[in-house]
Amino acid sequence: MTEQDDIDKLIRQMADELRARLEAARIGDALMVGIHTGGLWVARRLHRLLGLEQPLGELDISFYRDDFSRIGINPQVRPSRLPVSVDDRHILLVDDILHTGRTIRAAMNELFDYGRPASITLAVLGERSGRELPIQADVVGRHFDLGEHEHVKLSGPEPLRLSIVEAP
């Protein structure tokens, strides 16, 4: 179990790391995009800490999932909102947990339907084993070693809490 204080610390570390990357690459006007729902909670805090100029973007990847024909449409789908053009822009993509990599693939497909970004940097609060695609995060809050039937879940938005649950 990771409580609020620890999560605040993780997010501050992530912000520091992102700031260092942006400075090293001389990127001034990055667009941060959070993936619904957990990724957006994390992104809101990172966005505040980094004091980014561009407003925060929101991505709901429901229309880009690769399991639509198996699980159908997500009834709680929300609109994606990208406040500025992604063309030639550096994107900071934020999600809560990186697991199979399929969500990130869907998010990148969706971003490319909005334009051609200059680059995409992936930041996740937590990562775990179980990748099914060649996708890795650039900035990671915490790594989780999990058993085959365990999952890590972020609850929120206030307070943010990471917990490890047994998969049914």
Partner: protein
């Protein structure tokens, strides 16, 4: 055990969309919420999402239509489905092949959805009763019975402009009797629970059972418009003039046509809607149709998102068993 309706599957999910009747408020709200998310697809450079990739949608239009056919086609294409348009006048039905034979042939070609427009009431229901289990039917207008996606896009337009339905007074004006749009709108607005729903028409253009639909009836346009939040004008079908139901276009416009002066009786921020195509100077003055309170073109663009929502929800039902 209660038999589920033709348009729902055993789990209560929409399998076909044939009519607004029988839809619960939550189900209508679900469709409107999903449509809201599809609006953002038009902001994309690539105005397409991959949801229905590999699905085939067939537009079966037995009656002329431009807007409805085009927006259904665009909706399917923006969902990445393949779309066929069967031109009925030149197709096999005139060669004596029966409608159901034609449908079974299309099913054999692995089509997934039929979008049906037909001059006879009940046509979409008939087709829905006979299609294979994997095929869905969307009613794109049947006779004077129902036009559910039009009503849904109207509800969507009202909600985007006005927010909540509960406080609203809505007036539907014109040929209620022959209008499948009006019937579907009345069912949708009463299900969503508007404060007051008025229908305004001469006696000859009102259906006999109109009072049972939960509406206030008036024959006086000024009374019907008073303090309305939403004014929906219906197209006057010119052929109604011949059946001695109406005196003349000029007379109709003087009594029931929406002009700026008359619109002033509605609330100052009232919106004016029309399902199209408009008869300018018959049911609505050009100055109103093109005026600041008109949302007629918004209705058209909203139609794409709403039809995307309906198509993806109907085709996106999870199968009950893996590999079914």
């Amino acid at each position: 055990m209660r038999r589920h309706s033709l348009q729902h599957d055993a789990e209560g999910r929409l399998r076909h969309l044939l009519t607004i009747e029988g839809l619960k408020r939550a189900q209508i709200v679900d469709i409107l919420d999903t449509a809201e998310s599809f609006i953002s697809v038009s902001d994309q450079q690539v105005r397409k999402v991959p949801l229905l990739r590999g699905k085939t949608v067939v537009n079966l239009f037995f009656e002329a239509s431009t807007r409805t056919l085009t927006t259904f086609e665009l909706a399917a294409k923006r969902l990445s489905a393949d779309v066929l348009k069967i031109n009925i006048n030149t197709s096999a039905t005139v060669k004596g092949e029966s409608l159901l034979d034609m449908l079974h042939n299309l099913e054999a070609m692995q089509c997934d959805m039929f979008v049906v427009r037909h001059a006879d009431s009940g046509a979409a229901h008939l087709i829905a009763r006979h299609v294979a289990p994997h095929v869905s039917v969307i009613n794109a207008g049947d006779g004077s019975h129902a036009h559910p996606t039009q009503a849904l896009l109207d509800m969507f337009t009202i909600r985007r402009r006005k927010g909540e339905f509960a406080p609203l007074t809505v007036a539907i004006v014109g040929d209620i009797k022959h209008s499948r749009v009006a019937r579907s709108q009345i069912h949708a607005l009463t299900t969503l629970g508007v404060s007051e729903l008025r229908v305004v028409a001469p006696k000859t253009l009102l259906p006999a059972d109109v009072e049972t639909l939960g509406v206030h009836v008036t024959h006086d346009l000024d009374e019907g418009l008073r303090d309305a939040d939403v004014v929906i004008m219906l197209r006057l079908q010119k052929e109604r003039m011949q059946g001695a139901m109406l005196p003349s276009e000029g007379e109709y416009f003087r009594t029931y046509g929406l002009t700026e002066e008359r619109l002033a009786r509605a609330k100052a921020d009232a919106i004016v809607m029309h399902p199209g195509p408009i008869n300018r100077g018959v049911e609505i003055a050009s100055s109103v149709a093109d005026g600041p309170q008109s949302v007629i073109l918004e209705q058209v663009s909203n139609g794409i998102a709403v039809r995307m929502a309906v198509m993806s929800m109907v085709l996106g039902r999870a199968p009950r068993e893996e590999g079914a």
